[in-house]
Amino acid sequence: MVRLEYIKKEYEKTRQMPGKWYLTSCRYKFNITRFQPFLSALKEKRLIGLKCRSCNTVSFPPKLVCGKCLTRPDQWVSLRETGIVATFTANYMKDETTGEANAFPVIAVRQDGADTTYLTQLNPKVKFEDVYVGMPVKIKWKDNTEGNLNDIDYYDCIDDPTQKMDSLTK
């Protein structure tokens, strides 16, 4: 599987010089001490978010700084494993053998108990056509968690009580 190339046009007249730009060799550091409660919770298959004491916003994934208050949130709060799809789109992956492009849902999940959303992927078996805004989802943990965000294998759909009500009333 490779990412679809968005570049279709090729050069026609001008001569081109090939060039390389080693951007992906950059390193990024982040504060693992302040993040440790979050990572430890993930390892235990628990979710926690960071709450700003000033504006009460609970962020998930946790943000080390609240931009609204310019403070460092330090209150960890437990979150449920469930959430809803706040908005979604698709990511297209090309199957290298068949050349076919398949749509995979990309979702913004609002975790129950959090005020922000997390951009992530749904169970790859869920059809893109079946996704909707407001769809309830639940975390599918990896079997062996290591204490990082990859411990969340994906989000899976769960029964939607409101949909059932709809079908009963119809």
Partner: protein, 381 residues
Amino acid sequence: MDKVGIVGYYQVQPSLNLNMGRYEMIFNTVRGALDSVGLKRKDVTSVVSATNDYYDGRTISNCFTVEAGGAYLKDESKVEMDGAYAVYYGLLRALSGHHKLVLVWGGSMPSCFPYSSSTLLSTDPTFERPLEIINDLTAGGLQMRAYMNKFDVPAEDIAQVAVKNHKNAAKNTSSLPESRMPDISTETVLNSDVLSSPVTELMYSQPCDAAACILLAPEQQALKIRDDPVWITGVGYSQETYYLGDRDLSRSQSMQDAAQMAFRMAGVKDAKKEIDVAELYEHFSHEELIFAEALGFCDPGQGPSLSTEISGGIPINPSGGGMSGNAPCATGIIRLIEAIKQITGEAKGYQVKDVQRAIASGQNGFCAQTNMLFVLEGGSK
């Protein structure tokens, strides 16, 4: 605010694959702007450019644009954002009282780098990048869906914005030739290739090669250069959160704040009545609706019911806007140029009647994270 006049401008004809190098493109733009008012390089006292290191394939890329950009032995500096932000810094220099003529240019050549793939590198390396699922296109898909869902807006209404702008682009000889579609329909837009559901190819501002330049001068100097400069009477600028998940994607708080600031400065009380035409940089068609609502032209979610054609109640993007081609780092300047043309009556074929006051915007970041808005006025005000 003291008045600053726009005394000259020039734009290189956009192309999907311009048959020249970056250096010549920049030279043509800058030389073109100076020639448009018969000025010389020595008249320029300050230069602000807008490019991007990645787009240029060089770090601190304005080191190579010094000569072509007219900045030899000048106090040039660069903004790594849309050109509208360079205009803002140019405006501040003109207002400082230390400069008589500020040259502002911006542009890039997406035919030389993978534009949408490069936006992957704008994402957060901790939470977003490892999944490789977010770039400017998927962000646009999330934004369009959030807007449609919040206000029950059908995709047809958003395709209609693309139809209007591609039809307008067909009347504008400065648009990207491939963007000119006089006979386009909503079906064509909806049935074009899906870029990131529900965004289709014809709802997306096609990246293209181009550069644009404008010349700014403080009031007295501007009137020495020409009798009829277009005046910048208001400017506003605001930034939203970096993380898409921290924002309400169905609206634009940054455009609302920018508008409030710019309108207060220009003394505009009722935008819908007092603005004659708007040139907005929409990266996707749905953003034009979100912006129109943020500008106060209508209530949230009512964007599709506005009459925004060239002859409409509040014409938006008579030039075609972002749909007429997106030259990264130049698009905001091109929107300004198009607003100037509307005021001076140079918008042949897509001229809005009796334009006295226009607005023009530039943006930067995923889902228009930041917005810059200018209020422009004609006459000797």
